[in-house]
């Protein structure tokens, strides 16, 4: 019935493949979307070459935020951190296969914001990271 809730999104929301925490981990970062109370934490393991060997996300929130986190985490395993720094809004929208208005875009981009803040080792996640 609607594009926004494509089967892939509902499926990743209900049965995420990469939900959980990594202990130990090399990088961990978390943040909220104050608007709707979405929360995402992402843990990464990184080898000596700077390549992501494992990744998980945890948190709660709407289908868009949780499905995009699952899709994002799935896509980064095996990739070098340097490559993750290049990810942007369009990569997320391509993965979701939808277009979003300004309000829901924040939900979709929360996981990328968290990931990039963690990869850059920043104290705080800013919206500029995903523009």
């Amino acid at each position: 019935m609607d594009d926004l809730y494509r089967e892939v999104i509902i499926e990743h929301y209900k049965n995420p493949g990469f939900r959980g925490k990594l202990d130990p981990h090399d990088i961990s970062f978390e943040d909220n979307n104050p608007l709707c109370g979405d929360h995402i934490q992402i843990d990464l393991r990184v080898d000596s070459q700077g390549v992501v060997t494992d990744a998980r996300f945890d948190g709660h929130g709407c289908a868009i935020s949780q499905a995009s986190a699952d899709l994002l985490v799935e896509s980064i395993i095996g990739k070098p951190l340097e490559e993750l720094k290049q990810l942007n809004k369009q990569n997320i929208l391509d993965m979701l296969g939808i277009d979003l208005g300004p309000v829901r875009l924040k939900c979709a981009l929360l996981s990328l914001k968290v990931l990039k803040a963690g990869v850059y080792g920043l104290g705080e996640a800013s919206d500029e990271l995903v523009e």
Binding site: Y5, G37, G61, A63
Partner: protein, 408 residues
């Protein structure tokens, strides 16, 4: 006697629109802001077409007309809440600014470190953050009347708190999430017995119930035009004259002064002392027209109609498996239904309903601590006003079943 909702709906042009072709708007978000009837839209339009000028001090025809309209609206608003004088009505931008005005002027002149301010756990952020800020600046103490599992204020705890001689009790008349209508008169009476001043956040009550500041004996009462069929950008603070007169001014600038020298000023008299700079004149005119409109429909009929719609909504929503309602039973609440749906985030509920033209709100509704208390990050909230119908409730319920199906 009772309200003819089909006739009422004809007054609201926006209710005739479709959100997409063939999908009529079902507006269930009046707690966030109400829609505007023609008399309000036309009053503002008329003001701009015919009478627009800056108010006070002008001597030309337009300035006199604009001033008269601006002040006539104040008279109407005063009468609407049964204030003894229009001088007790301070125009502000909204309820939030009204509360901040009290926090910046009365509270900073009267509260010192260690003084207790009592709030409640069901406050909107607008009646929390100004006091957090004052706490950081002044070292005042804050304590809270708890909310029971049924969504009511625990008045026994309140009575115990009063033994600590609070200086101020500031509370919401009607919760924007739970819909709870608090026993304001009793809360105020008890506060006065304990020697405290009272501030009522009436953002949700003035639009929906007959509010009488004298019967309540409220010291301060804050509300917004936009939730009561009026425009955004204007609200009001009611205050008892003796309090307002003793308070220092709020913002400094034009209109709030009687006399200015290079190195000093003398503040104006009430209510202008608190209204610096060119105010929202057209909005004041619209505010007055909104009050006239609500009065012509009749506040008792509005409350009765909303109650009937809300009661029906609670009944229908309760039947939905996995749906959990928050707040007290219909008897203790206004036209608000906040709920969660098992397995579906409120944002997704709202987004999917929007496909059917149904406008509800999802989130913490600027009451994060209340949501934390109930252990949930967010709720979906449908709210009703004089133009809401039982048919719209049915559409909402059907829409929620569609959401359940999609998330299966």
């Amino acid at each position: 006697m009772s309200l003819n909702v089909n006739e009422i709906r004809k007054n609201f042009p926006i209710l005739q629109r479709e959100t997409s072709p063939g999908v009529p708007l079902v507006y269930l978000d009046s707690t966030a802001t109400s829609q505007k009837p023609l008399p309000v839209i036309e009053a503002m339009d008329h003001y701009y077409r015919r009478s627009n000028a800056n108010i006070h001090r002008g001597v030309h025809t337009l300035a006199e007309e604009a001033t008269a309209m601006y002040e006539a609206a104040r008279e109407k608003i005063a009468k609407f809440i049964h204030a003894t004088s229009a001088r007790q009505i301070i125009y502000t931008r909204n309820t939030t600014e009204s509360i901040n005005l009290v926090a910046y002027t009365w509270a900073r002149a009267n509260l010192k470190a260690g003084d207790l301010v009592i709030l409640t756990e069901m406050e909107h952020h607008s009646n929390l953050v100004p006091w957090h800020m004052l706490q950081a600046e002044r070292g005042i103490e804050l304590d809270f009347i708890p909310v029971t599992d049924e969504g009511l204020l625990d008045l026994d705890v309140y009575k115990a708190l009063l033994s600590r001689s609070p200086k101020l009790v500031s509370f919401t008349h009607m919760s924007n999430v739970l819909g709870t209508i608090n026993p304001a008169a009793e809360i105020i009476r008890l506060a006065h017995e304990a020697g405290a001043i009272t501030l009522v956040d009436a953002a949700q009550s003035v639009p929906h119930l007959k509010v009488d500041v004298q019967a309540l004996d409220a010291d301060f009462l804050a509300f917004s035009a936009h939730k009561m069929c009026g425009p955004t950008g204007i609200g009001a603070l009611y205050g008892k004259t003796e309090l307002l007169e003793k308070m220092p001014p709020f913002l400094g600038g034009g209109d709030m002064i009687k006399e200015v020298k290079l190195r000093s000023f003398r503040p104006n008299t009430l209510p202008h002392k608190f209204e610096a700079g060119t105010p929202a004149i057209a909005e004041a005119v619209g505010f007055g027209a909104a009050v006239d409109y609500l009065t012509s429909v009749g506040m008792d009929d509005i409350a009765e109609h909303e109650h009937a719609v809300a009661e029906y909504a609670l009944e229908r929503l309760e039947e939905i498996p996995g749906l959990k309602l928050f707040g007290p039973d219909a008897q203790h609440k206004g036209g608000v239904a906040a709920f969660t749906l098992a397995g579906v985030h409120p944002h997704d509920v709202a987004q999917i309903l929007d496909r059917d033209g149904i406008a509800i709100r999802a989130g913490h509704h600027c009451a994060q601590p209340l949501h934390e208390k109930f252990g949930i990050p967010a709720t979906s909230r449908a709210s009703f006003y004089l133009y809401s119908t039982k048919d719209e409730v049915d559409l909402l319920v059907n829409g929620i079943y569609k959401v359940k199906e999609l998330f299966g």
